[in-house]
Amino acid sequence: MIETKNVNFYYGSFHAIKNVNMKMKSNSAIALIGPSGCGKSTFLRLFNRMNDEIPGAKLEGECWINGKDIYTKHTQVDMLRKNVGMVFQKPNPFPKSIFENVAYGLKVNGIKDRAFITKKVEESLTAAALWDEVKYKLNKSAFELSGGQQQRLCIARALAVSPSILLMDEPASALDPISTAKIEELIHVLKQQYTIVIVTHNMQQAARVSDKTAFFMYGELVEYSDTKKMFLAPEKEETQNYITGRFG
């Protein structure tokens, strides 16, 4: 369960997120759509506090995950990030072997048990539907994989630390159609176990993978409802315009 209460977010004096209240149910997929620059990525990065890294950024309001305010003084950001995995727009594996990429999150979180790490790497790669393609070359550099494989590796890397939430920022926008289809398939499977928040600029993709969809414009949450309803009978005119391509 993710919840935002009166969230406002500023880059310096620029008001990027405007008073957003939103609830997201566990074990479901929520799509964030909206024209470019409307604040989707910014909103997504609130939940693993990646916005903390940006100098001059400021948050007002509250963010709750599984019944805990994640912006208190006592919040351990690293624990939060372990629980809230993230997949980025472009595949960004580390300049390390495939195995080391997946093991990275475990190692930085202090896990030293080799056997456990090996088991976890296999599980994660399997869950990311990559295991069969890489099981004989785990020690090869991650850069030798294709773009689509690299993105699934990044998903495996995020899954390895056993998160309950997965944030995906346009995870397929840099991939070819076949790789995109594979990722979408994967999301379908993963949402049984994980809460997935996915940003996408691709309407069909949102319709295909998500249970609920949120439409943002100029930093405001315009409409938030079941995906089916949103695409068949949106309440707001802006939403209608955007979905039918008359905007953005």
């Binding site: 100098p55 690293d78 993230m86 300049p95 990275y104 999150g105 930085v108 979180n109």
Partner: protein
């Protein structure tokens, strides 16, 4: 008219494209031409010769042996493969204490004869005389075979005594070891400091500090080496002397410290640039997995920037090895194989700078200094190629 000028300029441009090749080629040709002369040079100083009694069984002596004999360290012919007899050293000026001016005749015309008399009278003698007074009649006298200075004398000779008579020693080993020792320690000091500061600037310092610090450090890269040398001489060497309780502060360590300080701006600037080129996504990915900033730095950023950092280090080494003035001013310049970093050493560039002014043009010493230049040239050439290879070996294909 305008056309003509344009064509002319165009031709000039095309020709000047070759200027660096020509320069490098010229440098190689001239350096090696002068330097190679060394191996055609006689080991005995030019214009001089060494004579022994004709019954002496020794036919030749190496420069090293000649030096030992004339230094009085070898006192018996047996050690040189001759009979068991004490060596009598005869230096040219002794002739003037045996014979009067009158006996030597006008313009010393009789001097060769007298030399012959003296030398043929003593089977244990070894004499070192100017070539022009070589007796015409070599009865009872033998000239030691003249050997050329060999490659081995130069490259593995353990002594550099270019002014020794009758046979100067041009062993490069003490100079080479001195150079490597000073540069190596310098780099050992400069790497952690330089890379550390680069990390601080690239990853830890906030934008304001970075904007201030980076240009400041780059500005300091421009300070001339002679100023660093001067500072080393008046500040660092005395401090080392005091702290170490040494007789002299001008030591290998002083040289290393000064070189380290000089290499810092270069290393910092290149290493920082290398770290800045890392895609932000790589950093974010690590942080998003719960890594701390520090874990991100040493597990992702440093490995990613490693080739850039390595290139910075190699370039730093190259500059340290070739640095002349600062080292010349603070290392004390004793041309002996160093036993510790708290002894005085002399590096190859410092040797060239210090001795070329006094070496007579075209002589063996002069040629030996050019050979040192060749050695230096080759070392830095190799280093620059290595740096090139390292920095072109990109880990990531975009």
């Amino acid at each position: 008219m305008k056309r003509l000028i344009d064509t002319l300029i165009e031709q000039l441009i095309k020709m000047s494209g070759a200027v660096t090749e020509i320069t490098v080629l010229l440098i190689i040709v001239f350096l090696f031409k002068e330097g190679a002369g060394l191996f055609n040079a006689s080991e005995v100083e030019k214009g001089y010769t060494v004579l022994v009694h004709s019954e002496n069984t020794v036919e030749r002596l190496s420069p090293k042996e000649l030096k030992e004999v004339f230094d009085g360290n070898i006192e018996n012919w047996e050690k040189l493969g001759g009979k068991d007899e004490a060596i009598r050293i005869f230096r040219f000026d002794e002739i003037f204490s045996i014979y009067t001016e009158d006996e030597l005749g006008k313009d010393y015309v009789l001097l060769p004869e007298k030399l012959e008399e003296v030398i043929s009278a003593d089977p244990t003698i070894i004499a070192y005389i100017p070539q022009k007074y070589l007796p015409t009649n070599l009865q009872g006298i033998k000239e030691l075979a003249k050997m050329n200075i060999s490659l081995t004398d130069f490259y593995i000779g353990k002594e550099w005594i270019p002014t020794a008579t009758p046979a100067p020693l041009f062993g490069i080993l003490p100079l080479l070891l001195g150079t490597l020792l000073v540069s190596f320690i310098a780099i050992l000091i400069a790497i952690p400091l330089g890379v550390g500061v680069a990390i601080y600037l690239a990853e830890i310092a906030n934008e304001r500090v970075r904007k201030l610090l980076k240009p400041a450090i780059e500005l300091l890269a421009g300070i001339p080496s002679v100023v660093y040398g001067f500072f080393g001489l008046v500040v660092i060497a005395p401090i080392i002397q005091k702290i170490g309780g040494l007789d002299l502060g001008e030591t290998a360590f002083a040289g290393s410290l000064v070189l380290a300080i000089m290499a810092l701006p270069t290393i910092i600037s290149i290493a920082e640039d290398a770290m800045r080129t890392i895609p932000k996504a790589m950093r974010d990915a690590s942080l998003a997995l719960g890594a701390t900033k520090w874990q991100t730095i040493y597990k992702v950023i440093i490995p990613f920037a490693s080739s850039g950092i390595a290139a910075a280090v190699v370039l730093g080494i190259g500059r340290a090895i070739g640095e002349t003035m600062a080292v010349l001013m603070v290392t004390g310049n004793a041309a002996v194989i160093p036993n510790s970093i708290f002894e005085s050493v002399r590096t190859i560039p410092a040797t060239i700078a210090a001795e070329l002014g006094e070496a007579p043009g075209g002589g063996a010493h002069y040629q030996a200094l050019f050979m040192l230049g060749c050695v230096l040239f080759i070392i830095t050439l190799i280093i620059s190629i290595v740096a090139e290879v390292i920095s072109s070996r990109k880990i990531i294909k975009e």
